[in-house]
C-alpha cells in the first residue's frame, strides 16, 4: 500500500505532467516507423507515467483509473493482439505474420497492409509492456500486499 506524498509541489507537478507523458508515449508507439521508438519504448514510458502517479498520489488514485483486474487484462490483451494478427494472416492463406494477406480485409494494397499490420503488433506490444512494467513496480514496492488488513492477517497466519 503506497502512501501518498504530502508535498504539494510534487503532487501538483506530477498531476499536470502525467497526461503529457502519456501522449508522448503514444506518439512514440505510433511513429515507430519514422522516428526512434516503437512498441517497447512507448510501453516503458507509459508504465513510467503510471509509476509516477503511484509514487506521488498513492495507490487510491491509481486504482480509480486502472484497477488491478484491468492491468492483468491489458497484459493479456497485448499478447492476444499480437498472436491474433499473426493467426489471421495464417488463416487468410499466407505465412504466420505475413501482413500482406491483410489487404483482403482492409481493402488497401499490400504495402499499406504491411504498414498497418506492423502498427497493430506494436500497439499490442505497447499494452503488454505497460501492464507488466506497472505490475513489476507495484509488486516490488509493496511486496504483493494490497492493504494493511491483509498484512495484519498474514502476520497472524505466520505466527500461528
Amino acid at each position: 500500500m503506497v502512501a501518498s506524498s504530502d508535498d504539494i509541489i510534487i503532487k501538483t507537478i506530477a498531476r499536470i505532467l502525467v497526461p503529457f507523458i502519456q501522449i508522448y508515449a503514444l506518439y512514440v508507439i505510433m511513429h515507430g516507423h519514422y522516428s526512434p521508438g516503437g512498441g517497447f519504448q512507448g510501453g516503458v514510458i507509459l508504465g513510467a507515467s503510471l509509476a509516477l502517479l503511484l509514487i506521488t498520489h498513492g495507490y487510491a488514485e491509481v486504482r480509480k483509473r486502472v484497477p488491478e483486474g484491468v492491468v492483468i487484462l491489458l497484459g493479456s490483451l497485448g499478447v492476444l493482439i499480437y498472436a491474433g494478427i499473426g493467426l489471421i494472416c495464417l488463416l487468410l492463406g499466407g505465412n504466420y505474420l505475413d501482413y500482406s494477406q491483410l489487404s483482403v480485409i482492409l481493402n488497401v494494397d499490400p504495402a499499406h497492409a504491411r504498414s498497418l499490420g506492423i502498427l497493430g503488433v506494436e500497439l499490442g506490444v505497447g499494452f503488454t509492456v505497460m501492464a507488466i512494467m506497472y505490475s513489476i513496480f507495484f509488486d516490488i514496492s509493496t511486496g504483493g500486499v494490497l492493504s494493511e488488513d491483509q498484512k495484519h492477517e498474514e502476520k497472524l497466519e505466520g505466527k500461528k
Partner: protein, 86 residues
C-alpha cells in the same frame, strides 16, 4: 557552426567529469542522487549537440525528451525510497 557546437559539447563533458567527483566521493547517498540528477541535465545538452553535429536534430530531440522524463522520475522515485527507508 559545427565547431562551435563541438566546443560546447566538449565543455559539457568536462563539466560532467567535475560533477562525477561528487558521485564517487559524496559522503552519503543524498549527494550522489543530486549529482546524478545534475549529470542528467548535462547529458541532455550533449545529446542535442550531437544531433546538430550529425544534422538530424529531430531524431535526437525525441531521445533527449525521453531521457529528461526518466531522469525526473528516477530522482523522485529515489527520494521516495529514501524517505520510506527512514
Amino acid at each position: 557552426m559545427n565547431e562551435f557546437f563541438v566546443a560546447v559539447g566538449l565543455g559539457m563533458c568536462i563539466l560532467v567529469f567535475l560533477v562525477l567527483y561528487r558521485v564517487i566521493f559524496g559522503p552519503g547517498v543524498f549527494n550522489r542522487i543530486a549529482a546524478i540528477s545534475a549529470i542528467g541535465t548535462k547529458t541532455l545538452i550533449i545529446l542535442l549537440v550531437l544531433g546538430y553535429v550529425y544534422n538530424r536534430v529531430d531524431m535526437f530531440i525525441d531521445i533527449s525528451m525521453v531521457y529528461a522524463l526518466l531522469n525526473f522520475i528516477g530522482c523522485i522515485a529515489a527520494a521516495k525510497y529514501l524517505e520510506m527507508e527512514r
